[in-house]
Amino acid sequence: MPDTPVPAPRGTSDSVAPVLEAVGVSKHFEVRNRGGNNAVVRAVENAGIALHRGRIVALVGESGSGKTTVARILGRFYAPTEGEIRLHGRPVAAGGIARRDYFRKVQLIFQDPFGSLNSLHRVRYTLGRALKLHGHARSRREVEDGVIDLLRRVNLTPPEQYLDKFPHELSGGQRQRVVIARALAVRPEVLLGDEPISMLDVSIRLDVLNLLAKLRDEEGLALLYITHDIASARYLCDEIDVMYAGQLVEGGPKEAVIQSPKHPYTRLLLDSSPDPGRSLAAGSASEGLFTATGELGEPPDPADPPTGCRFHPRCPFAMDECRESFPERTEFPDGQWVHCWLHQKGRAHLLAPAPPAQSLKETRP
């Protein structure tokens, strides 16, 4: 997205050009539907994401929104049907950048920390291999020192205590730290986190988020944080992009997106997310845009998505334009952008100013 206004970089100043970006990527999967006919699942349509040094971008969406597909395209599990991935401005098409060189710069953190560590190997082996493979350590001594240094960087202290542990001897949070340490061993510039905390216990999630924030601040890593939990995205990230049914609908600086959402879907997502501060603040209940009890339908079938803006069947403001074509991007001075006809047609006042969201308990039939 070269036309995205880049917000003031945080920390270092060499972050104007993105490290890794997806430019207009789409991914269509051919599947066989129930009737036995071939169908095309349009998992991602024309998505653009730019990751900058020392910044964290959150990609927020429900399951089936295509956010994991984006992560997997960036992780080169498969090539995009359209569009391209660029690393430092260089296209990463077949033959462009070898996988090995790509993964020197870009590493992925999986959702399930137990599944992504081989249960039969000690921490020392897993981390040591990652170091050796990239020539960051050769002798026994160097490997040991390197592993200890990695463990220290992910706050597993004292590191000596974790060297000879098997994954099953570690707690979920500790395992995810080892997974992050393995990714760091490669000395990447970009980390892609696909729901990295959703399988961890609640009380240790923040620890892992704080660790990711530390890596951004101290080591200048660029991070993509994929999540369904918009509150954690606000806590960790600099920028939030919202995805619905394969389309990026809104994005921008986090506070702008959360405090004044410009897309009806973002509003729905925010209104639906639990926020005790809201409902327990007495007397804040007023009619929201969406009455929580109303029947809002469900996300569409990606094999047969609605035409135009895919949110229109659930949108209270849907107009004829919404059914016909996907709107152009509307940009705002603070860097926020949205794909919504309301802004193209001068009906944005329907959305703003956002009335305080309705609490669950105040809902009455």
Partner: protein
Amino acid sequence: MTDPALLQVDGLSVDYLTPQGSARACSDISFTLRRGEILGVAGESGSGKSTLITALTRLQRPPAVTSAGRIVYHPADGEPVDLVAQSERALRRRRWRQLAIVMQSAMDCLNPVMRLGAQFTDVLRTHDPSLDRAAAWQRAGELVRMVGIAPDRLPAYPHELSGGMRQRSLIALALACDPDLVVMDEPTTAVDVVMQRQILAQVLRLRERFGFAVVFVTHDLSLLLELADRIAIMYAGRIVEIGSSADLYHRPKHPYTKGLRDSFPPLHAPLRELSGIPGSPPDLRDPLPGCAFGPRCPRAHAACEQAVPPLRTVEAQDVACVLYDPQNPEATAHA
């Protein structure tokens, strides 16, 4: 809270028996659930919250056994009964009619080879043999409409429904025989936030209409704070704090409650650095002599290691922490 008691749990303990000895998954749990009340039970994995659910409904499987305590159920008409002492047959008569269960995974609870409607009529006609087929189908239609599913979906098989619909039909199925108590074990973890909110709003609306009580178990305290009337916080098999949602949110007493509350970043309130709770939960097979939270507690001191603190009433809530022991010199009344 003038509603009469529906369920009185008193000193309930559940053990998992292993050849190496037993592990106490629930320890000395006591609480009272009133008619029409929503009690949230929050805890992390291994806190015993799911064990508590299976013990309340007497659905636990070996090697779990209820080793102590009583679960006294007060029916609307008739004498109170202790569910722990009931035979399996007597219990079967109470399930659905008086206590119903909604589990986490709808796909595991619905029969995949039976049409949705047939699963409803099965339940309805088992508990009311006088109901004929047509009337039962009619009633099934009313039930699914209650949770926002069109009655014309009744002939569908479970796999033809979306995840949200399956979960909602499970709730409708639980309400089929108008129970007094619905026990819900993480009923919305498998669905998205938007659907989650719709389902919970429906539960609240139906509770308003039918007056059933709910025990709602989840790891998501932020959700419970919005949903529940009262919340019990569990840690290592014990209730460490129980009180109203507002009190627990604004004035948490137990350091664990405080830590858990601060593990959920706010959506609108100003951001500040949060830390979660360092460390990991204890091994239930090898319990500590004192407070199980001690090793992770920011305010731990010598008194914590001496004995397991009992639940004490402090202001509006009950809390199990030595900081509120009047005999403890370290205690601070308003910690």
